[in-house]
């Protein structure tokens, strides 16, 4: 475990060296993140200009949700994006070979190797928005709130990792799936709106089948003090199940892996 943490930080530090080298790409990604963030916030302020609540959520509550959505989005962008974006290429070109022959868990090395540092910087406005909405809500930060929120964020990140990984794993069967990366982004978009706006089938789909809604909603509701323990328990169970299922899919996929020619 300790060794894996050390390795993770070595990967991270080499990426900082790399990004310092390619400043252009770094700033471009940063700017595009900031634009997306601004557009989302502007959308919500326009929406709440004409209605007082959406699905029972007030404007500052919705802002808190958006901030949480954006924090998880940026963290997963920072740690997962570059890996899953490469995943189908690893399989198509046979580059996965280099991970399979080293004494480090190949899933770890293939999915947590690259990092997009600029996404860590775009965390700052998200955190600022979180503070603004807290101020508007008149809520104070307590130890329980803060620690619970952070733990639930981590849980959400684990679920995001698994869902995104599961989509990427399709590459073992389909080989060429760059388009499926887009699928993940459009799925995650559903999480930025208050869950009550979804009804019936859609809600069941995104809560139980592809649980993207709970990823953002559960930490938010915990902090806003209207979460049920059952929802937290559900996320824990989902995260554990998905970790096991994706691990099995990975193993099955490896058996299929044909390692492109020489």
């Amino acid at each position: 475990m300790q060794r894996y943490i050390r390795l993770f930080f070595r990967y991270l530090s080499t990426d900082i060296i790399r990004e310092a080298e390619f400043r252009g790409g770094f700033f471009l990604l940063l700017v595009s993140n900031l634009i997306e963030f601004t557009v989302t916030v502007a959308f919500f302020s326009l929406l709440y200009g004409s209605v007082p609540t959406v699905g029972g959520w007030s404007y500052p509550e919705a802002l808190f949700l958006v901030a949480t959505y954006s924090i998880i989005g940026n963290l997963s962008g920072a740690f997962f994006l570059r890996n899953f974006a490469r995943f189908s290429e690893y399989i198509r070109t046979g580059l996965l070979d280099t991970f399979l022959t080293k004494p480090v868990d190949a899933q770890f090395a293939a999915t947590l190797r690259y990092h997009a540092i600029s996404n860590l910087i775009s965390l700052l406005p998200s955190v600022a928005l979180l503070m603004i909405s807290l101020h508007r809500l008149g809520l104070t930060i307590t130890v329980v709130n803060a620690v619970g929120y952070v733990l639930l964020l981590v849980l959400g990140l684990i679920i995001v990792y698994c869902l995104w990984f599961a989509i990427s794993l399709l590459a073992f069967w389909l080989t060429q799936i760059n388009e499926l990366q887009e699928l993940w982004f459009s799925l995650y978009d559903f999480a930025r709106y208050p869950p009550p706006i979804y009804d019936g089938g859609v809600r069941i789909l995104f809560t139980f089948v592809i649980p993207v809604l709970t990823v953002v909603a559960v930490p938010t509701e915990f902090f806003l003090e209207h979460t049920q323990p059952a929802a937290i328990g559900y996320n824990v169970a989902i995260a554990a199940t998905l970790l096991i299922v994706t691990r099995l899919l990975w193993k099955v996929g490896l058996r299929r892996y044909a390692s492109a020619s020489s």
Partner: protein, 328 residues
């Protein structure tokens, strides 16, 4: 006790046949024809500690597939293999710490970073103690003449330098078994030569067991005492390189320069003419009795200079493949 033991190893790939064209692509979404190719067919061999074995064969012969199974990258369809006592495709860390595979066409070094960063990562991955890391790195940079490129980004290196850096990265943990898949591919003649010298010296000094694939005959001729020749998934020669030449060739090549013009009809009947001018001739004579026949030519012809050569190893191997291609 052999280091590598392979028994009846087979690998079958399945793939889908798709007729060209859009409509056929749409059809293939629903109904596809599944085909299989047997890349490796019941291959068996053993390799002893410290051996340097050359794995020869044309493209698609199954040599890389075999190496990949031994490196644990691919699962075999049937059969068994043990390397250092481990089943490779179980991918035990204890095994992975004792071998290395270098693939000429896949780089493990970080493209955008100096090679040194990748070496430091390998130090972490293989848990190499600091003093050993320093010592090994010094040795390898000395042997491969790599000092000045350690801090240059890999993408800025020449192919030759990059391959040296790849080799260094693969040898830092002092592997007991080394798989080299086409290590000289794409290199210029000088760089190929250097690479061969290094591999040979390394094998002799470190007693590392090396299996090397190549389709350059020179690689194998220069390096391996033993060759395994594989074609279409089947091994059909496993033994010393010299034995192979004797087995396949029935001829030797004789080059002669004459002191005065010689007509074609003056040359003995057993000499098959390859090339001839009035004052020179290159002929092929049967290997059997070659000494006696050469003596006879020396006596009857006005010879100024004469050389007798074995047929080049490429021709030998080509001959083997051709013979093999004929239906038995």
């Amino acid at each position: 006790m052999p280091i590598i033991e392979v028994r009846d190893l087979s690998k079958t790939y399945t793939y889908h046949r798709k007729a060209p064209g859009l409509w056929n692509s749409v059809k293939s979404l629903f109904k596809r024809q599944t085909l299989t190719t047997e890349a490796v067919k019941r291959v068996s061999f053993t390799v002893e500690a410290g051996e340097l074995v050359g794995f020869l064969g044309p493209n698609g012969a199954g040599k890389t597939t075999t190496l990949k199974m031994l490196a644990g990258i691919l699962y075999p369809t049937t059969g068994e293999a043990r390397v250092l006592g481990y089943v490779p495709w179980e991918r035990k860390a204890a095994y992975q710490k004792q071998f290395s595979i270098v693939m000429g066409q896949k780089n493990q070094l970080w493209w955008d970073l100096p090679a040194m960063e990748s070496f430091l990562l390998n130090k972490e991955i293989y848990e190499i103690p600091e003093p050993q890391f320093k010592e090994t790195l010094n040795e390898l940079t000395e042997l491969l003449d790599l000092h000045e490129v350690l801090d240059v980004q890999v993408r800025k290196l020449s192919l030759g330098q990059r391959m040296k850096a790849e080799l260094t990265a693969a040898l830092l943990h002092r592997p007991k078994v080394l798989f080299l898949d086409e290590p000289t591919i794409g290199l210029d003649v000088v760089a190929q030569q250097k690479m061969r010298e290094f591999i040979k010296a390394y094998n002799q000094q470190q007693k590392t067991t090396i299996m090397l694939t190549s389709h350059y005959m020179e690689d194998v001729a220069a390096l391996a005492q033993r060759v395994i020749i594989i074609d279409r998934g089947i091994i059909f020669y496993d033994g010393p390189l010299t034995g192979l030449a004797a087995k396949v060739h029935e001829h030797k090549t004789v080059r002669m320069t004459f002191t005065k013009p010689v007509a074609a009809t003056d040359l003995p009947a057993f000499a098959h003419i390859i090339e001839r001018t009035p004052t020179t001739a290159t002929v092929r004579i049967p290997r059997k009795d070659s000494a006696r026949r050469t003596a006879e030519m020396l006596k009857t012809l006005p010879i100024d200079d004469i050389t007798i050569e074995e047929e080049p190893i490429d021709d030998v191997i080509r001959q083997v493949f051709l013979n093999h291609a004929q239906p038995a």
